[in-house]
Every structure is written in C-alpha cells, then in structure tokens.
C-alpha cells in the first residue's frame, strides 16, 4: 500500500515548519523589518512593541530582524555540517563494509574514537589552534555526525553485499566501483536520508551552543546562540531578549524533528 505523505500529520506539520524556516531565512536575505545591524542608543533593551515585535538588544538592534537573519546562519551550518558528516561517513562506511578485513577494523576503530568527540569537544580543540568562527562550528559538528553515517552505511553494505541482485551484477562483470555506486549505495539511501534529516536539528542545537560558548559564530554575525549569550547579561532588564531567539531555535528544531519522525515512518516499511 502506498502511503500518502500529506495525510501523515507529523510529516506535514514538520514539513510546514521547515518550509517556513527556509522561507524566513530566504526573505531575510533581501528584506528584514529593520537592518539587523542598525544600532540605536535611545532604543536599547526594549520589550516587544509595535515597532519592534520582538524588542531590541543592548545596542538597540531589532531582535526580530536579527532572529530572521540568524535563521540563515543556522541553516548554513546545518547543511554544511550534515554534508560533511554524510560525505565522510558514507565513504568510510562503504569502504569498511565492502572491503572488510583489516581496513574495516581500522575504520571502525577510528569511528569509535571519533565518537568520543562530541561537537563541543572538537570545537574546543579547534579553537585552541584556529580562530573561532562559523567554519569551526561546521567542521566540529560535521565530525560528530561521521560515526552514525559510517555505521549505517557499513551495516547496509554488509546486508546488501550478499543479496542476489548484487551477486548477479557482479556475475555480469560489474566492477567494485560500479557495484558500490550503482547497486549498493542507492539501496541503502532511505536510512541515510532519515539520518540526515534527524541530524539537521542536532546541528542547529549544536551551532547555537557553540556560538553561546564563543567557540562558533562570532559577532556581529547574527546567530541565535550568540544572541542568547548577549541576552544573559540583561535578563533583569529585558527578559524578552532571552525568550525570542531561544524560541526560534526550539521551533526550528521541533519542525525538523517532526519532519524526521514523519520521514522515518514513511520510508521505513517496518514501522508501517
């Protein structure tokens, strides 16, 4: 039976929130209510008002505009980090599962070791020798994703390697590269797509945490985590400043999580 994605409530709600997030980010590139970098000495740390629906920060900058612009940073870091994790992880998993033997053993030990480095730890190490910035966030978060992608791909390859259609393709003279790229990889895609979708919200959470710690995105670039770091100093004066950027993170992550859950239901025949 074919399942209709739009009748799946979790998937639809998740997709709607995700689309809204992308739309906000896209719009912020050409239009924000106020210039996100424009300061105003007289209008500092105001609560929500008609002019500034989300209030203003310690430099009088419009929080709504900065939250909108922050979506771009989150999405960019998410896309690149998931790209790094998936790219490196799938490659390692393919080699490990297909070749087997000592290369497999070696790759798996590296994967085990990398699992000991959550994004925060890698970012700590990188900022010890590099200037902190968005690039550090992307790489640190991407590295943290490698083990999951590598394991998933390896498991899929191990299973598919023995299947009739792969053996048939080999009997017909297909080379290793062709077997891997044309027969094995496409058939292991569904779990990888789910993994990529569920990694995305994790990346957004990690980007915010790194920016908050001063290890990732740096001022004046708008980032939700960075805004919360600034807001913490003014909790007594303008609590709203700490509410809206955090709310933006929560809504974005919620939407992506729902989308991931929905995709898993739709793509995984076992949970039908």
């Amino acid at each position: 039976m074919r399942r209709r994605p739009l009748r799946h409530a979790t998937f639809t709600l998740g997709a709607a929130i995700t689309l809204a997030l992308i739309l906000v980010a896209a719009v912020s590139l050409v239009y924000t209510p106020v210039d996100p970098l424009a300061m105003s000495i007289t209008g500092r740390l105001q609560g929500p008002s008609a002019d500034h629906p989300f209030g203003t920060d310690q430099f009088g900058r419009d929080v709504l505009s900065r939250v909108m612009a922050g979506a771009v940073t989150s999405i960019a870091v998410g896309v690149i980090a998931v790209g790094i994790g998936a790219g490196v992880g799938v490659l390692l998993g393919l080699v490990s599962g297909y070749v087997g033997g000592w290369p497999d053993e070696m790759v798996m030990r590296i994967v085990d070791a990398v699992q000991g480095f959550p994004a925060i730890l890698s970012a700590l190490l990188f900022t010890a020798v590099f200037t902190p910035g968005t690039a550090v966030s992307m790489v640190a978060i991407g590295i943290a994703f490698v083990p999951a992608f590598a394991r998933l791909t390896r498991a899929a390859v191990l299973e598919l390697r023995e299947r009739e259609f792969v053996i048939a393709a080999r009997a017909l003279g297909g080379g290793d590269a062709r077997l891997m790229l044309r027969h094995i990889l496409p058939n292991s895609l569904p779990p990888l797509i789910v993994q990529a979708t569920t990694s995305f919200p994790v990346a957004i959470l990690a980007e915010a945490a790194l920016a908050y710690l001063g290890l990732g995105t740096q001022p004046p670039q708008p980032s939700w985590g960075l805004m919360l770091k600034e807001a913490q100093n003014f909790l007594g004066m303008n609590p709203w400043f700490a509410v809206f950027p955090g709310g933006a993170i929560a809504v974005a992550v919620l939407g992506l999580n729902l989308l991931g859950d929905g995709l898993r239901d739709l793509l995984d025949p076992k949970t039908a």
């Binding site: 000991g116 959550p118 730890l121 945490a209 919360l228 955090g246 929560a250 809504v251 919620l254």
Partner: protein, 314 residues
C-alpha cells in the same frame, strides 16, 4: 564470551590510542605553532625559539607524541602554563563539580523518563500517551543552555529563590553545593530525559507485543506483575543502552551548563584555557573527556552483550 570480551578490550585499547592521536594531531600537527600562539605578537625570535625548545616543539613529532602519550599513561598530562600546576591535578579538582552535575542530571533523567515512558506505553494511543509524546517532542527541541537561561529567569530573576549561578565549593556544605547544582542539572537532564522517554516507551511497547506477555496475562498474572516482572525487566536492556550512551552526552552537555551557571567545572577550565592559550590544559581536558566517553560506550556495549544472551557475536 571470554574471547569476545578479550577482543572488545583490545579494540578499546586501539580506540584510545586513536583518540590520543586525534587530540595530538589537532593541537600539534595542524597548521599553527603553539609556541607562537602562547607568545602572541610581542615575543622576539630568540624568545620564541627558547619557548619552542623548552616545550620540546623542536623535536620530531613522533618523539613528541610518544613522550606526551607516555606521560599520559603514567597520569602525567603536562603542566598548565596559566596555573603552573600539573594538568591532572587541575582536572581532578574540577571533576568535583562536573561529575556531580552530570550524575544529578542522570538521576533526574532516569527518574523522570522511565515512569513517563512506561506510562505512555501502557496508555498507547490514548490521551496520556499523546500528551507525554508531545511533551517529549518539546523537550528534545529546547537547547539545554536556553532551558538553563529560562530557569534562571524564572527561579532567580523573577522569584528570587536561588542565585543565578556560581558555586562556593563542597567545603561550605553539601546542601548548599547541591542546591547550586540543582537548576543546571535539571536543564541538562531535561533534554536527555525527553530522549529517554521515547526510548523507554518504544522498548516497553515492543515487549508488550511479545507472546510471553500475552501468555502471562492469559494465565491470570496481575497487570502490575506483568508490567514489572515480565515487561520492564526485558525492556530494560535497550533502555540501559540508551541511558548509558547518554551519560557521555551529559558530560559534554555539562560544559555548556557550567558556562550558563558560572560553575568551576571541567568545561570552564577548558574554555578559560583557550582564552589563556594554555594548550597543555586544552589537550589534557580533551583527552580526558574523549577517553571517558569512549570507555562509557565500551562499557555499554559490553553490558549489552552480557545482559542479553540472545545476542551472539561471531
């Protein structure tokens, strides 16, 4: 089984060596000269050379690695440039904050997640299940440090019940110390609890569908006994696995919460070391945390195969 354990231990040792190599490569091999970073822009060329020599940076990389690793194996992680104390001593003193914080968060996580997960599973597809799932969905969407900020906003700024952060140390009384760790532990545990609720629910649901549960019910075993003796005991295997892996994540998360609540733990030690260019400390803390997580994952993996005799390894 014994051969399996021996192989896993060998793999663990290999993994720990890879961990140390990764830390070493990032700090020493990647472009960037630790001596120049420490020296900043003021140092003369001779002073830089002297520092490089005293740090052993003018020797071959393999020698440097073997020396650092040899020291680490004997518990010597080098000396902090900032505090002029052994890195191991610094880490040990900061663990008195980070470990209780992570353990309190773990306690909160288990105490909240297991009853809720069990409740949701036994009320499958009823209102209670949906409410629990919506709550856990919200829980995994809230960044831990924002949860911390909101707790400060409510309990410290608005209600004035607790301080917004800081830690006076264990010497000023365990009660006061635990109180200053309470909000950060809740903020840290909330996210992980939401993850564990879902894992518990699905593990219990799986077991509830088993034939032996139906058999137990059919022969008239009380529902309470079915849940505790037949269901939860068997569902605990996947639950323990998830919770174990989460311990490592709590350790990493503690770094962030220590910053939010100004707690003098391992994370703040590392962050301070970065701004002070105290590379031996950064290197030592990274090696310590990564190795701890790897060992936790190993223990979970092993526990899994011991707890579940159905699992056979080749």
């Amino acid at each position: 089984m014994r051969r399996y354990v021996a192989r896993r231990v060998a793999a663990l040792v290999a993994t720990l060596f890879v961990v140390s190599a990764l830390v070493f490569v990032v700090v020493r091999v990647l472009p960037g000269d630790p001596a120049a970073i420490i020296m900043g822009t003021e140092g003369s060329r001779e002073a830089l050379e002297r520092l490089r020599h005293s740090m052993g940076l003018d020797r071959p990389l393999t020698v440097q690695y073997v020396e650092w690793m040899g020291g680490a194996l004997r518990g010597d992680l080098g000396r902090s440039l900032q505090y002029d104390l052994p890195v191991g001593t610094l880490i040990a003193s900061r663990l008195t904050v980070t470990v209780p914080l992570a353990l309190m968060a773990a306690l909160f996580m288990v105490a909240a997640a297991i009853p809720l997960g069990l409740y949701a599973a036994t009320h499958h597809r009823r209102a209670g299940d949906y409410v629990t799932m919506v709550l856990s969905q919200i829980g995994i969407s809230i960044p831990q440090f924002w949860a911390g900020l909101l707790l400060i906003l409510v309990f410290s700024v608005s209600l004035g019940w607790v301080r917004s952060g800081g830690f006076d140390g264990w010497s000023s009384g365990a009660g006061a110390a635990l109180r200053s760790l309470l909000l950060p532990a809740i903020a840290l545990g909330l996210f992980q609890a939401a993850v564990l609720v879902r894992a518990t629910r699905s593990a219990v649901l799986d077991v509830l569908g088993e034939d032996y549960v139906r058999t137990a019910r059919a022969k008239g075993v009380s529902e309470r006994r079915v849940l505790t003796r037949h269901t939860l005991r068997n569902a605990l295997i996947p639950i323990v696995t998830v919770a174990g892996v989460q311990l490592g994540q709590l350790l990493a998360g503690a770094i962030v919460l220590e910053s939010v609540f100004a707690l003098p733990g391992l994370g703040r030690l590392a962050l301070g070391a970065i701004s002070a260019r105290d590379l031996p400390v950064v290197q030592g803390v990274a090696l310590f945390i990564a190795s701890t997580i790897v060992v936790i994952n190993f223990a979970v993996d092993l526990a899994y195969s011991v707890l579940d005799p159905r699992i056979r390894y080749e």
